[in-house]
């Protein structure tokens, strides 16, 4: 490995990600487009968070509670940062199309796999820095009041190790994904496409589970091994360095430091080997079963879509199951459900006599999975078109028709998920059939509101260029989309929330108000989406 090459490459990757352009004609501009922004934003984030925690939260907690919270944060900081770097990579780095990555300049320059892995890891840490500063600042504020700054300093230092492990794990996942998608090249049939997608999703889920500390703790507790068993969970070894030192066991801390470094070396070697073996994703050529040219609009026609809209919907559904870069969109909801299942075993879920409180976390996570699935599909609905969006711009397809087709492309895959969720509520929470039927329109209107909101955000922040490390949506758009999704769900369901928490309004009125509010939000957001979409007609792709 050549460190100089690796650092130069890391700089190029950072520039590429910072300067991502929405289209061909766009040019990088503004403070947010400069790589230096991250370096400036991180200390500011750290200082503000630390000051806020010190002044507000630190003073409002009991001293004993405060010391316990500060202790826990410092100990688990490395595990948190590991999780952060993984989630960041998962959400942003997997949307690069295989055919673009395969012709990257990096493939034909004399760069070794080790250089590439180090550069990629450094870039990930660089972009995770502002988020990590938030965590470090929070723990610093608490430690300052609790008088445990030494513990914080150690936790912060070991957090670098956590970040490295998280970023390397995702590097491994990327290499494995290249292998998985390449394995199906030349194979024929719809099953090959489905298997390829299932394998890609499984790789992300398995690697994310192995490196997710909360999931690992759940698995350990599932097997009744007791908390002592967390000592044998490798991803928690960096945290054990802090824990052992805090309890005065210097030798134990040294052992875990050694074990952590061994783990880091092993993951690094594995990442480099996987990267070297499966360097770039080969453009996959799959021979599909001969299809009949569509002679009618079929079910979509019955639903009121014209032939052009039906064609867009069919294309988008194919995109969802065929493209390697869509795997993370499907993997994240699977992970959310999996976390819920690990937290509440099926024996409890299926036990009708078990109290509802023991099942609410699982049900909440399942509902969240449906919303997350929809959020991702809607937010990326326009960006995933990439430069081929030109086909739609050049065609006689106005913004209104295109928007209706895109909304349907979002709601069609989410609707079965909603029905499964409702059925799950009926089985697990023993809800009567009449209430279940009432939940369906409620769920659908809420999902319509989220879809409309995210289509508007997705149109405004879509990235059509597939150059460099580009995503489907800008980082700024992803953050805004997440925040507005929470606001939309909260806003839509607020009448019901008021009924159940404060009893301000009766159930029937709350129900009708919720439906009405969701429809109003949908209408306003669809109008906003249309305005944004019309602006895209003037875009240079």
């Amino acid at each position: 490995m050549n460190l100089r090459n690796a650092l130069r490459l890391a700089w190029i990757f950072s520039l590429s990600a910072s300067r991502e352009k929405r289209g061909k004609g766009g040019s990088p501009e503004g403070l947010a487009r400069r790589p230096i922004t991250n370096l400036v934003a991180s200390p500011i984030t750290f200082t503000l968070t630390a000051a806020f925690t010190y002044l507000v939260m630190g003073r409002s907690l009991e001293p004993i509670t405060l010391r316990a919270v500060a202790y826990q944060f410092c100990v688990f900081m490395p595990a948190f940062t590991m999780f952060m770097s993984m989630v960041y990579s998962l959400m942003t780095e997997f949307s690069k199309p295989g055919n673009a990555a395969s012709i990257d300049m990096v493939n034909w320059l004399p760069i070794q796999a080790g250089d590439f892995v180090v550069a990629s890891v450094v870039t990930t840490i660089y972009f995770v820095l502002p988020m990590a500063s938030l965590l470090l600042g929070f723990a610093f504020g608490l430690s300052l009041v609790a008088g445990s700054l030494g513990l914080w300093a150690l936790g912060a230092a070991v957090s670098v190790l956590g970040c490295l492990l998280g970023a390397l794990a995702l590097e491994m996942a990327r290499g494995a994904m290249n292998r998985a998608s390449g394995a199906f090249s030349g194979v024929g049939g719809q099953w090959a496409v489905i298997l390829r997608m299932l394998l890609s999703v499984s790789i992300i889920v398995v690697i994310s589970t192995i490196f997710n500390f909360s999931m690992m703790i759940q698995i350990v507790s599932w097997f009744s091994l007791g908390l002592e068993a967390i000592r044998f969970i490798p991803i928690l070894w960096p945290s054990m360095i802090v824990l052992e030192l805090a309890s005065g066991d210097l030798a134990g801390s040294a052992v875990y430091a050694g074990l952590s470094l061994l783990l880091l070396s092993a993951v690094y070697v594995a990442s480099v080997r996987v990267r070297a073996a499966y360097w770039a994703p080969a453009p996959v050529s799959l021979k599909m079963k001969p299809v009949r040219i569509s002679r009618s609009r079929g079910l979509l026609g019955l639903l009121g879509f014209d032939s052009g809209q039906a064609a867009i919907i069919r294309k988008d559904l194919r995109s969802l199951v065929r493209r390697r870069e869509m795997a993370s969109i499907l993997a994240v909801p699977v992970m959310v459900v999996l976390m819920g299942l690990l937290g509440t075993p099926p024996s409890v879920l299926l036990d009708a006599s078990a109290p509802l409180e023991s099942k609410t976390t699982f049900l909440f996570q399942c509902a969240m999975a449906v919303v997350v699935l929809e959020l991702q599909i809607a937010l990326t609905a326009f960006g995933q078109e990439r430069e081929a969006f030109m086909n739609l711009m050049a065609a006689p397809m106005d913004a209104g028709r295109l928007l209706r087709a895109k909304a349907a492309s979002v709601l069609i895959p989410v609707a079965p998920a909603l029905l499964i969720l409702v059925a799950l509520f009926g089985r697990v929470a023993s809800v009567d059939p009449a209430s279940l039927i009432a939940i369906i329109p409620l769920g659908f209107t809420t999902l319509l509101a989220v879809a409309s909101m995210e289509l508007a955000v997705g149109a405004k922040y879509a990235v059509f260029s597939s150059d460099g490390q580009s995503r489907f949506v800008t980082l700024e758009g992803t953050i805004i989309g997440l925040l507005l999704c929470v606001a939309t769900v909260g806003g839509s369901l607020s009448p019901l929330g008021l009924h159940y928490t404060l009893g301000y309004v009766g159930a029937p009125i709350a129900y009708v108000l919720t439906l009405a509010l969701a429809m109003i939000i949908s209408g306003v957001c669809l109008m906003a989406a249309r305005v944004e979409l019309e602006r895209l007609y003037e875009f240079d792709y």
């Binding site: 021979k287 014209d306 052009g308 086909n391 006689p396």
Partner: protein, 256 residues
């Protein structure tokens, strides 16, 4: 060719930021003619084509396409235009057949004629037998052919082709040339840009030479050749007009 004007541009300007991509451009293209746009990279050819089909709005000036203003009636213009951008932009996760079916549906081609047309074109361009493969596995030339079929599938009245022959093998390039000539005889107007002078010479009824966003020359290939003196080639005319006739000196300087 009946002499009627299919496309006209009058005093058209378009800037990107501070960069004026097209300046005071006047063009008149007759129905059924093949009109070539020649010019070095960045001369405004692609911007002009995008403005004609309503993908970009001009800052000032007027454009008329078969009696329609692309600014006021972009959908009306798009319905009668077939467009191939300079780099083919296809949905790589679709098969060739699925892509063409998609394009035909988006343009509203009737279901009864769609299948026949698609297979006719696939056979003509030598893509039959490969139509059920994903486009991601196609070569550059195959992608270009697919994009061309996509532009022709709805029988447009105006074809706008940005470097349509790039990456095509000689046989396919010949097929495209023959198709354009046949379409011209049927009254279809074609605007196309190219860097290949032989093709421009052989195909175009008229040629406009663009340089730095301005039209610096126009005429039939014969008229342009005569401008540069008897016995000149179109390439010499092009180099003379665009001020790049000192290439020999540049090569000498580079090679020492």
């Amino acid at each position: 060719m009946d002499g009627e004007i299919a496309v006209s541009l009058k005093g058209v300007n378009r800037s990107f930021g501070g960069n004026r991509a097209v300046r005071d451009l006047d063009l008149e293209i007759k129905k059924g003619s093949i009109h070539g746009l020649l010019g070095p990279n960045g001369s405004g050819k692609s911007t002009t084509m995008k403005m004609v089909m309503g993908l970009l709005k001009p800052d000032s000036g007027a454009i008329d396409v078969y009696g329609k203003d692309p600014r006021r009636d972009p959908m009306g213009v798009k319905r009668i235009v077939g467009y191939v951008p300079e780099t083919s932009r296809l949905y790589e996760y679709l098969t060739g057949l699925e892509y063409l079916d998609f394009i035909a549906d988006v343009y509203g081609v009737e279901a009864e004629v769609k299948e026949e047309r698609i297979y006719e074109f696939l056979e003509a361009f030598g893509l039959d037998g490969r139509e059920n493969e994903m486009i991601s596995g196609y070569s550059h030339g195959m992608k270009q052919k697919t994009a061309l079929i996509g532009a022709l599938i709805h029988r447009p009245r105006l074809l706008i082709l940005d470097e349509p022959l790039g990456g095509l093998d000689p046989k396919s390039a010949r097929i495209v040339k023959d198709i354009l000539l046949r379409l011209s005889r049927e009254g279809v107007t074609t605007i196309f840009s190219t860097h290949i002078m032989e093709i421009a010479d052989a195909l175009c009824d008229r040629i406009s030479v663009l340089y730095d966003g301005e039209k610096i020359g126009e005429g039939s290939p014969k008229e342009l050749r005569e401008m540069a003196g008897s016995g000149s080639t179109l390439e010499e005319v092009f180099l003379l007009l665009t001020g790049a006739d000192d290439v020999a000196d540049i090569v000498d300087a580079l090679m020492g």
